[in-house]
Amino acid sequence: MNSCTGCLSRNTCQSADKPMEDYIRQLPLETAHHRVEGQSTKCGFGLQGVCCRLCANGPCRVTPEAPKGICGANADTIVARNFLRAVAAGSGCYIHVVENTARQLKNTGLHKDKIRSEKALNHLAELLGVTGTDKYDLCVKVADAVLSDLYRPEYEPMELVEKLAYAPRVKRWKELGIMPGGAKGEVFCNVVKTSTNLSSDPVEMLISCLRLGISTGLYGLQLTNLLNDVVLGDPEIRSAPVGMNVIDPDYINILITGHQHSLFTYIQDRLLEEDVVAKAKAAGAKGFKLVGCTCVGQDLQLRGAHYTEIFDGHAGNNYISEAVLSCGAIDAVLSEFNCTLPGIEPICEELKIKQICLDVVAKKANADLIPFDYETRQADGDRIIDEVIGAYKARRGNVPMNLFTSHGNRNTLTGVSEGSLKAFLGGSWKPLIDLIVSGKIKGLAGVVGCSSVAYGHDTLTAALTKELIARDILVLTAGCSSGGLENIGLMTPEAADLAGPNLKAVCKQLGVPPVLNFGPCLAIGRLEIVATEIARELGVDLPQLPLVISAAQWLEEQALADGAFALALGLPLHLGVPPFITGSSLVTKVLTEDMTGLTGGRVIIDPDGKSAADKLEAVIEEKRKALNI
């Protein structure tokens, strides 16, 4: 190692994962946790969303002496415009993911490739009202139904919305005029809206956020899961190892990051084939292993039952990817989307880790770009494998190992989905509903979304989750929140001891933890299916359920698009920090108060785990009362 580490800040940020905090503090390489301190002075105008740099007259900032931009835009316009722009970008990200996923399914059908779940295919075909001559044709037809909706212009409503969404919600959305047009067109139209001197109407822009939320949620989230289930296999509930202990230095290890699991299908199967394993052995390794990081790792973990040979487990969320790479036993990073931090680049450089990107949208500066192409996947796959083996040979023995074998645990419950959970409950939601009605489970909380570090790595997510389960509220997770919570043991059966007496008894009886791991952020779409099926069984609309959502440590624009989906569904949505809106009293009021009258949802902002839990518990109590339970 030739880097001088004398100047490296030792003031790393706090983490809910204390062993990880200690590990990162002693690392000789810089991580995001080290950079938090240097970025601790935040711009107040940015935090409040009242900095506008849409034109060359700017940046304009709102102050008491200058309450309007040069163009005349006031704080409400500036804030709403910035917010809609972020939601549109976030929606675009998820729509990109579902587009590639649908294309993958279509190609699977066209090439008569491996289908891992015909059950999922038939379920999806039935849901969308699609028929085919055989299973391969069905794949093509299902994919085409999705793709043709995505490619519709924004002025043409998407056809699958009413098939995917809960009828009472659709009714409300129609009343509000927020049924989305073609998903890509919606992103396009709303980006136009937010450009220089176009829309200045803050309320119209907030309503547009809801429309984007619907297309993001139903297509980018819900459908991505259902499409992936066909090609990659249905989630199955099982116990699995998590954390850095999953890394076995005897193998050639590939860290995968991103959100597009289907782009790995080919290579992850190929890595197990005899000739490829022979290549690994010739290089001195036992074979290949994929190590999970970020949401694509969560997704692989969710379907881990189908991949026990190639996948050892999920190491952690986006903000420990730098630490995972620093352990020395990772030979390559295969990335295809966010959250692949730019911060991994100097670490890869230093430790001679090969970086390869499979999708140009996530091209990293020092990575090779080998865009996934179904037609050339075999040749590309072999090229990738040879590059990775080359890196293994060049670096092993020449870079220091800094393994962290005690990190994480070996018995995290994974593989929870709308299908596997229902099956676990005996094929019906009734047992869960009974527990909720009897008060043994007071309510449900989806603790979802990202991990962030500026105010502590997973600290709020963990504090809030512990508070919620202590109040007998069952927590369901999806996103990098899963990665953080599983590494600190909240998804092991033993975590039942941290739950309130009623929830604890339920968990002990069923042998499950009080925090159920639905995997990646995409699985927010699965939570929506669970909520919808429960609501349907009860004969109520979603806002009536004793259900709250928290994106406590939301990080990025995608999370804001997800949040817009939660609001469209009529759910209370907790955020740890405001989404750069407080500079406008109008926007803040619409999102935190008036939204209740529109969709039934609202934003609750609270940076403290305990007081946020107080508020969410009060919402659940209120909803229980209204339901007379």
Binding site: T41, G44, F45, L47, Q48, R61, P64, V577
Partner: protein
């Protein structure tokens, strides 16, 4: 005795100092930048950043001068040089709102309050143990507190 020293060459004009000043002196009982009303004139900052016309900035901060123009011009005695801590202190109770200080200060620091009944001037964040909020908020270290 302490003073704020300014290095205009380091200033990027981000106005974090102004927001920190507004936050430190807000009267609505709230705390935290997210709830600071940026459109409320009563939240006026005691410092300001002006352009120098040459692509740089002139941060305008009270120097708590050894021979203060403002206190010298103040007929009511509202502005006084405190010889113990070196600060030029302002007592709004005594202020007659004549604005002689506003006219006299060679740096242009004192400003007329929105209600026109007093002036707005740096108090060196006397109520904060950590010292002036503006200095702590500057990401460029263009302003710093030094012992004199």
């Amino acid at each position: 005795m302490k003073r704020i020293f300014i290095d205009p060459t380091k200033c990027d004009g981000c106005k974090n100092c102004s927001l920190a000043c507004m936050e430190a002196h807000r009267q609505d009982g709230g705390t935290g930048i997210y709830t600071l009303d940026l459109q409320d004139p009563s939240n006026q900052s005691r410092n300001r950043i002006l352009t120098d016309g040459k692509g740089g900035y002139n941060p305008i901060f009270c120097r708590h001068c050894d021979i203060p123009d403002c206190a010298g011009a103040c007929m009511s005695g509202a502005l006084q040089k405190n010889m113990d801590n070196g600060l030029v202190e302002y007592d709004a109770e005594k202020c007659a709102a004549c604005y002689m200080c506003v006219m006299s200060c060679r740096y242009g620091v004192p400003a007329i309050s929105p209600d026109r009944k007093r002036v707005i001037k740096c108090d060196f964040c006397a109520h904060l143990e950590e010292g002036p909020a503006c200095v702590r908020a500057c990401p460029k270290k263009a302003i710093e507190v030094r012992e004199v």
